[in-house]
Amino acid sequence: MVPLSYYLVLSGILFACGVTGFLIKRNIIAIFMSIELMLNGVNLSFVAFAAHWHVLAGQIFVFFVMVVAAAEAAVGLAIIIAVYRTRETLNVDQVNLLKL
């Protein structure tokens, strides 16, 4: 028996780590990975709440989040490749011009 709140705290910690990574990372790929970390943290709380309320819909939401994450990863990484092609850098501080 583990209290539900433990799962929620773990989920919160992961989400907070994701937010921090989003703030302090300067590599655009690492920033993107921080977003994935946030999504994972949210997924854990979905599953934990599903188990707590005995409603399977929580697990279905995780499924949808995964689909969105996959779509996001495909498009986002394509954008990163396009950015790297034109700027030749992955540092977000140097990607500060709207147009080259």
Binding site: I29, F32, E36, M66, A69, A74
Partner: protein, 179 residues
Amino acid sequence: MISVHLILFLAFGAVCVAGAVNLLVQRHPINSALSLIAVMAALAGEYLLLGAEFVAALQVIVYAGAIMVLFVFVIMLLNAGVEDRTQGSRVAIVFGIPGMLIGSVLVAWVVLRHSGTGDVEIGALPGPPKTIGDMLFHEFLLPFEITSILILVAIMGAVVLASKPPSSPAEAPTQKVKD
């Protein structure tokens, strides 16, 4: 009372937190990616503890096995190096880390003190593939179909964005395009 469930929860949770912190600390993106994979694998363990076997399998197959392979692939393709610290990142570190610590401690405190939620048993809500499939194709049919359109658009967008822009042959040698 220390149960098997608690021990396993703490073990997987420790891997999760260590991986997440390692993601922040590492300066090479490939190390960050590997620690994120460790987080995802450990999260699959947590899902199994909660009984969500199908979600755990999907977590490993889709997240760790497909999405993260894509990340590693792009890191390898672009030959991403160690990230450099800039003025902006120093400001972010100075304000971001204390802010995150305060925020997460606050959330943890509120959740632990005021939640009043009960306990979760091991394998509390089994999510067999059959039931999940039934729900997906009955209750959640419309969202399911919409995600399929989303995926289609994402595939086309990725192809358009990542394909090389058409360039006239005259300026091709001077163009600095890296593959």
